[in-house]
Amino acid sequence: MSTFLSIAIGATLFLYAIAVAMAALRLAHGPHAQDRVLALDFLFVVVLLTMLVLAIRYQSSMYFEAALLMSLFGFVGSAALAKFLLRGEVIE
């Protein structure tokens, strides 16, 4: 890991951190419930991308499984929340 690549990885993670802060503002501030669900879905995607960047940083393939699980659970959570907003219950 050269210093060049580690600086680029640090800058990328810094940009992700700003994005997470903006999404957290939308999550706390969102006027409707659907805004909060959208912000949560976006947060899941950003954390997934962070896992992939950390896999490059630490040269470990363990982070791929974490990213895969993050993608799956993000979809299940967002779909369940959207179904709840639509119908008032998740499983009918």
Binding site: Y16, A55, F75
Partner: protein, 119 residues
């Protein structure tokens, strides 16, 4: 255990591009006015940013291990399947809730638009 310089530059450029794209998506999520406009922003992170991180990871691990390592594409396939489903469900939920709240959605057409059926 080190990469050639061209590979490192490619990985760094792709990672920084994904950072800028995710920041753009978050800016859209925070700054756009309406929920239905805001829904467009995170798809940037779902598609272009995820692909650029994946290509960076493929380049990095392929150069590092000396063989093609493509297993990151599974995450992109999964995102490509799940993101539209979530988007459609959320859009329907938002439409239902806004109509229940008494909003006229979609908004009526203005007078400056042609009303003879041609759109």
């Amino acid at each position: 255990m080190t990469l050639p310089l061209a590979g490192e530059i490619a990985v760094a450029v792709l990672l920084l591009a994904s950072g800028v794209l995710v920041l753009t998506a978050a800016l859209g999520l925070w700054r756009l006015a309406d929920f239905f406009q805001r829904m467009h922003a995170p798809s940037l992170a779902n598609t272009l940013a995820a692909w650029s991180v994946s290509v960076a990871s493929i380049v990095h691990f392929s150069l590092l291990e000396g063989r093609l390592s493509l297993h990151v594409v599974v995450i992109n396939v999964l995102l490509a399947i799940t993101a539209p489903v979530t988007t459609v469900l959320l859009a329907r939920a938002a439409l239902f809730r806004r109509r229940q709240a008494g909003d006229a959605l979609p908004p009526p057409l203005g007078d400056d638009l042609p009303s003879d059926g041609q759109t």
